[in-house]
């Protein structure tokens, strides 16, 4: 490969590819999806004189651990993305595996969190909002873990290279988005909502 061809190839890698652009547009769509629930939350917040209604106790300490897990997983995933951009496939696989473990840990710990709470989805509007919003987020984390496992399988099969790793790039965009949604949920339910 001549030097000229190499630069052209390099530029091709840098231009946003179709699949990555598709993921960006999909994330925009998902952002509108979650924004609707936040809109609903604050609409209902504004029509209720007392918020949160009496009798709802959350577990802020546990939720803080959840936040740390998910933010850490974004860091590990991005480290993996930087590794593959430098053509270090093995390092990428390690960071990706770590991300998946952190994601799975988040899911398990959140289910445990649910089991500790003394209210359900049927116990008033706060319960409805809490479980539907965090539940939909959890479903997105689950989807993200499945996606990243598929990327890992691709990587273990040697299909991901410096020049071709769109699935890794797209997966990381999605994962960071899900992380941001969690930070918004945490702020809404545990920071603003706490009394």
């Amino acid at each position: 490969m001549s030097a000229v061809e190499l630069t052209r190839d390099d530029r091709a890698v840098r231009q946003t590819s179709g699949p990555v652009l598709g993921m960006v547009v999909f994330v925009a769509s998902e952002a509108m999806f979650f924004a609707t629930f936040f809109g609903a939350y604050f609409t209902i917040y504004s029509v209720n004189p007392v918020w949160p209604p009496a009798g709802f106790r959350l577990e802020p300490e546990l939720a803080s651990v959840l936040t740390v897990l998910l933010v850490a997983s974004s860091v590990t995933l991005q480290t993996g993305v930087r590794a593959i951009r430098r053509d270090r496939t093995r390092a990428m696989l390690v960071w990706l595996g770590l991300t998946i473990l952190l994601g799975a840990g988040f899911l398990g710990l959140q289910l445990y969190d649910y089991s500790l709470l003394g209210f359900g989805v049927r116990d008033g509007i706060f319960g409805s909002l809490f479980y539907v919003m965090t539940g939909l987020h959890m479903a997105h984390v689950f989807g993200g873990v499945v996606f990243l496992v598929l990327v890992l399988v691709q990587g273990l099969g040697g299909q991901l290279t410096y020049a071709h790793h769109d699935s890794m790039e797209a997966g990381s965009i999605y994962w960071h988005f899900v992380d941001v949604v969690w930070i918004c949920l945490f702020t809404t339910f545990y920071v603003i909502g706490l009394r």
Partner: protein, 546 residues
């Protein structure tokens, strides 16, 4: 290489799967486009029959044909199917077939996702329709399904919710696909400012599909959670907010009406220049109008909620009136395109002109209703029914018919009959006005929408009878259309590559195009590459004569 390879043994031709298997598993954008059109027109037929049943019931005071609950199901299904399973999918179907051709691409960006987003449609549509078999019947809370009414009702309402989530997912996926296709797969020379107007309209539609549809999905999930999980989103007794549904629904719903019309604007903006023998007047103005309307459409939703008294009247009235400015720009440009053109009154042109006349009336209705004072008087009357049909039937469906006559030769290789097309147009135009114009007057006289019956002494009977006669004239026009399609498809393929002297790249390839779309792409140096090519050919011929 210098080595002579041994001759490969004669390969047996690859066994072709059965034609049905080929169609069911296709990822070719042209075949998927055709599937979209077939599926959409099938739902159009079903929803049209529902409309005829309603008009028959309303022909006389008293109840003759259906129960009141049956009537509620009819108008709910009519609206839902027409909007979500006919108008939007038929535009997406034309987009599927035409957009890759117009930008000079081989296919859509994600062919398999394209197939998925098509197949979700019949699944979602049949899920909604299967409510008819449920205990208590299908959904009956209207296509807008306001809470708390939509919190009641049986399994039919749940099937409606699930079906719409499926159809919405299809929309989001095809929106993503169009955006990436248009931004990434354009032929060399096809810059954004040379993009055909129809492609721009599909790009704007896609943006709305991607950004507004998830809002509906979220609302449907809240509704479903209320109904089946015991949540309280729309239940004020337990701290929820009943108006929340209307906000969420219309935050989606108003961009939705622009999803339903933008494609038709694009179609008409393609057809008028071709049959006027002139370029489109003010191409940048048309594109700017599309973009402005796409943006503004997110700021007007609460004009549907004036009578709740809980929304900011001046703000939503002003933003709604603002939309009429870019829409006015469109009308100006369309008329200026026609001005001093050499007009050819082929069927696509007839439908495009019908579109301009009827959409203008519907649009003026809309400007009127944007005034809260006016809206208080006519909210939920037949005036609103007249308005929505002038915009979506007089507007979009006339645009869809224009597109059908215009692109039929490209898709099937055969030109539809001109004479039957004229019959179709005049019957549809007359029947349409006979059906929906009297509804303005009915609304002003106070007839509420969504009622199965009315009293004989209210003075509504004659106007209702006119509307019913008109609806059957529309039905006859559709029979003419169907006959035209069937008769034409039985003839041999004889359409040339460019029967209309078109401007855009789809006319540069054979009719129908080969699987790979183009054997040779013409050079793209303007937004009318084919016109350029004809000019060059004419200049070349003149040169040769000398």
């Amino acid at each position: 290489m210098a080595i002579t390879e041994p001759r490969a043994p004669e390969l047996a031709p690859e066994p072709q799967p059965h034609w049905l298997v080929q169609w069911l598993t296709t990822t070719d954008h042209k075949r998927i486009g055709i599937l979209y059109l077939l599926n959409s027109f099938a739902f159009f037929f079903v929803a049209g029959v529902f409309a005829l049943l309603m008009r028959s019931e309303l022909a006389e005071p008293g109840r003759q044909l259906v129960t009141t609950s049956g009537y509620n199901q009819l108008f709910t299904l009519h609206g839902t199917l027409m909007i979500f399973l006919f108008i939007l999918p038929v535009l997406v179907g034309f987009g599927n077939y035409i957009v890759p051709l117009q930008i000079g691409a081989l296919d859509m960006a994600f062919p398999r996702i394209n197939a998925l987003s098509f197949w979700l449609l019949p699944v979602g549509g049949l899920t909604i329709l299967s409510g008819l078999l449920a205990k208590g019947g299908a959904a009956a809370a209207g296509w807008t399904s306001y809470a708390p009414l939509s919190e009641q009702g049986g399994a039919g309402q749940d099937l409606w919710i699930v079906g719409l989530v499926v159809v919405g997912t299809a929309s989001i996926l095809s929106g993503i696909n169009f955006i990436v296709t248009i931004l990434r797969l354009r032929a060399p020379g096809m810059t954004m400012t040379r993009l055909p107007v129809f492609v721009w309209s599909i790009l704007a539609t896609s943006l709305l599909m991607v950004l507004a549809t998830p809002v509906l999905t979220a609302g449907l999930i809240m509704l479903f959670a209320d109904r089946r999980l015991g949540a309280f989103f729309f239940n004020p007794v337990h701290g929820g907010d009943v108006l929340l549904w209307q906000h969420v629904f219309w935050f989606f719903g108003h961009p939705e009406v622009y999803m339903l019309i933008l494609g038709a604007w694009g179609i008409v903006s393609e057809i008028l220049p071709v049959f006027s023998g002139k370029p489109l007047f003010g191409y940048p103005g048309v594109i700017l109008a599309f973009v402005l309307i796409t943006a503004l459409s997110f700021s007007v939703w609460a004009h549907h909620m004036f009578v709740t008294g809980q929304v900011e009247f001046p703000f939503f009235s002003a933003t709604t009136e603002l939309i009429s400015i870019p829409t006015g720009v469109l009308f100006f440009n369309w008329l200026a395109t026609l001005w001093r053109g050499r007009l050819r009154f082929e069927p696509p042109m007839l439908f495009a002109l019908g579109f301009i006349a009827l959409f203008l009336l519907g649009g003026v209705d809309g400007v009127w209703m944007a005034s809260p004072a006016m809206d208080f008087a006519i909210h939920d009357t037949y005036w609103v029914v007249a308005h929505i049909h002038y915009v979506l039937f007089g507007g979009t469906v006339f645009g869809i018919m224009a597109a059908t006559y215009y692109w039929f030769p490209k898709i099937s290789g055969r030109l539809l009959s001109r004479r039957l097309g004229q019959w179709h147009f005049w019957l549809m135009f007359g029947g349409f006005n006979l059906t929906f114009f009297p509804m303005h007057e009915l609304g002003l006289r106070g007839m509420p929408r969504r009622v199965a019956d009315y009293l004989p002494d209210l003075g509504w009977t004659f106007l209702n009878q006119l509307a019913t006669v008109g609806s059957f004239v529309i039905a006859v026009s559709m029979v003419v259309f169907l006959v035209n399609v069937v008769v034409t498809l039985r003839r041999p393929r004889d359409a040339p590559a460019d029967p209309w002297q078109g401007n855009t790249l789809e006319w540069a390839t054979s009719s129908p195009p080969p699987v790979h779309n183009f054997d040779r792409l013409p050079e793209v140096r303007s937004n009318r590459p084919l016109w350029d090519a004809r000019q060059r050919a004419a200049a070349g011929a003149a040169e040769a004569d000398r």
